[in-house]
Amino acid sequence: MPAKRTPARDSGGVGQASASSQTAVPRITPGNGVTAGSHDGADGSTALSREQRLELYYYMRLTRSLEERLVNLYRQTKVVGGLFRSLGQEADAVGSAYALDRRKGDILSPLIRNLGSMLVQGARPGEILRQYMAKGDSPTRGRELNIHYGDLVRGFVGQISHLGDMVPVMAGVTLSFKMRGEDRVGLVYVGDGATSTGAFHEGLNFAAVQRCPLVVVVENNGYAYSTPVERQTAARSFVVKAVGYGVAGERADGNDVVATYEATKRAVDRARAGGGVTLVELVTYRRKGHAEHDNQSYVPPGEIERWERENDPLDRYSRVLLERDGVAATELAAIDARVQGEIDVATDEASASPMPEGRDALIGVYADPAVAEGLWFRSGVDAAVTTHERPASWGTHDG
């Protein structure tokens, strides 16, 4: 793998950033500077094996197809809440997560658009569908929505909605790695929008001072809900923020799965070697609205279409595999078919799953007592209230 560094870690590059620091971030366009400077595997120097490269394809395809299935289920009103897409961002999610080492026990914290990252870490399509459908045998037993769930054994921590909060939490997860001398690395995703939160700032600063083995990936997809990047920050990029925290920076084309992998891998290697935090900016584009209901009226005309036409990560990667890596079209088709099969099985299983029982809602707020105080007004207090004597206990809290 080349030790090629993105402009962020190159002093000249950041110097430039400073000179134009008063200029807003340029609107992202497909094929702008970032893409031009990125890897397309053209130099053939990546250390990924053929199997690994096909695995990357598999996860990207699985991400896209699984979300397409979710769209169907959503239209059939089988998805209980909102539906969040990562269309066009599959490379960024998959490529970055692929840089972690699951056998070493690396852990990541995904966001709503990191379905691909979770699949790489071992999340199963059936779990995802059950979560969205609020099933009783979903990982959170119907308590939390969409991909808000985790599994420390497989290596991902469930997010909460409050943006930025996972950065301090992952600072603590990786602090534990450091304290125990474990050879593990953590990775936390934040959107361009979430970089504005106090939690992001405090968590990143804390991890930087403690030199935690943490990679902070800013997924710059151009928008936070309807808000374009230039209303989120006056800086010309997100990677320049690395300087202010005294951490390393990387910037890569998030629609190039290999470039994404490589930039993140450098950050992961640095963290594992004791080099502390890296801020990785992955530049990509959110082709769907914030959620399914968002009509994207705020997007300049043609922008989405241009990204779809010129910079779809699956299209781009398929071309690389077919045209340069000597992969046969039939191989990709076989993967596509395998993915469809897996999703069909998962859909059948998830659909057959039961909804949770109402009373299960009371279990598990505390380790001890294991059961939350109940709703007395749904239980047998009738006896007590029919007497005007002093009862031993008026009303009970045993639900």
Partner: protein, 325 residues
């Protein structure tokens, strides 16, 4: 006049107040071109421009803090929390900076913090919260939580005109589910006054926000099936609390059920119970009871959410027990 929704009532209030007073402005995430996650501010930016309808970074601390600074200078900011659940990020700024400004520094801080609140919408633990109890405890803040279209509009107008900080909670379950004809003209509802939502003789239900409607459903069922005459008091303003209205209904029916959607322990019902104890104990013929959510984060699945949140059937059941006492 045409009927309008609860959401439209709030939107009208924002429009009218911005027309009336050039010092009023709005700030929040995605409230401009997009018109807000629920479209409460739709059309505002077209009408009043980017200077008075500001799309901010995702920064609840900054939104609230900047509003306070602007308010000191004589402006009247209206902050949107995209979901009220995110007000927790600004908890320090609200309780320590904003709420104390007048008292400790004689700094006026006229501002509104508003946002979609409440459950019954399958929003899960972080898009369904009822934050009133977290702030009831903070002298210096006012808290409003309307249940009708007229109140939503009229209280928003009062909140914007108020010289202190008003937390204005909008129930998102009601946004498009209730419609009313609105009084013409400058419809203003005073802060601090409860509303008798339904008259009755046998028993009082004290509540606010979405559960007002559950209480009314329950009251009708109780009238039909049990011949009970149930009074429903809609608090509307939670801070300052309308003690006079609470005492009046206690003295009238002598039996009180407090209903809130929020979790039980540490919820607002406790405060109401204390006030009744202190001021009308002898008027009670039965204990003050509460029907509330269970003490858990609000789960996502319909079966779980329905179980945790108070339903009309729960109110009916508790009211029957109370009536029989």
């Amino acid at each position: 006049m045409a009927e309008v929704t609860y959401l439209e009532g709030i939107r009208q209030a924002l429009f009218e107040e911005m027309e009336r007073d050039p010092n009023v402005f709005c700030l929040g995430e995605d409230i401009g071109a997009y018109g807000g996650a629920f479209k409460v501010t739709e059309g505002l930016q077209q009408r009043f421009g980017e200077q008075r309808v500001i799309d901010t970074p995702i920064s609840e601390i900054a939104i609230v803090g900047a509003a306070a600074g602007a308010a000191h200078m004589g402006l009247r900011p209206v902050c949107e929390m995209q979901f009220i659940d995110f007000i927790s990020c600004a908890y320090d700024m609200l309780t320590n900076y904003v709420a104390t400004a007048r008292y400790r520094a004689m700094l006026p801080c006229p501002m509104v913090v508003r946002g979609p609140s409440g459950g019954y919408v399958r929003g899960g633990p972080f898009h369904s919260q009822n934050p009133e109890a977290a702030f009831l405890h903070t002298p210096g803040l006012k808290i409003v939580y309307p249940s009708t279209v007229a109140d939503a509009k009229g209280l928003m107008k009062s909140a914007i005109r108020d010289d202190d900080c008003v937390l204005f909670f909008e129930h998102k379950y009601l946004y498009r589910r209730i419609k009313e004809e609105l009084p013409a003209g400058d419809h203003v509802v005073p802060i601090g006054k409860a509303r008798l939502a339904r008259e009755g003789r046998d028993l009082s239900i004290i509540t606010y926000a979405a559960t007002v409607w559950k209480a009314i459903d329950a009251a009708e069922q109780l009238e039909r099936e049990d011949g009970l005459s149930v009074e429903v008091l809609d608090l509307r303003t939670l801070l300052p609390m309308d003690d006079a209205a609470i005492l009046a209904t206690v003295r009238k029916t002598n039996r009180v059920l407090i209903v809130h959607e929020d979790t039980r322990t540490g919820g607002i019902a406790g405060e109401i119970t204390s006030r009744i104890n202190e001021q009308a104990f002898e008027w009670l013929d039965a204990p003050v009871l509460r029907v509330t959510a269970a003490d858990v984060p609000l789960p996502y699945a319909p079966s779980l959410e329905d179980f945790v949140l108070p339903q009309a059937a729960d109110i009916v059941r508790a009211a029957r027990q109370l009536a029989r006492y």
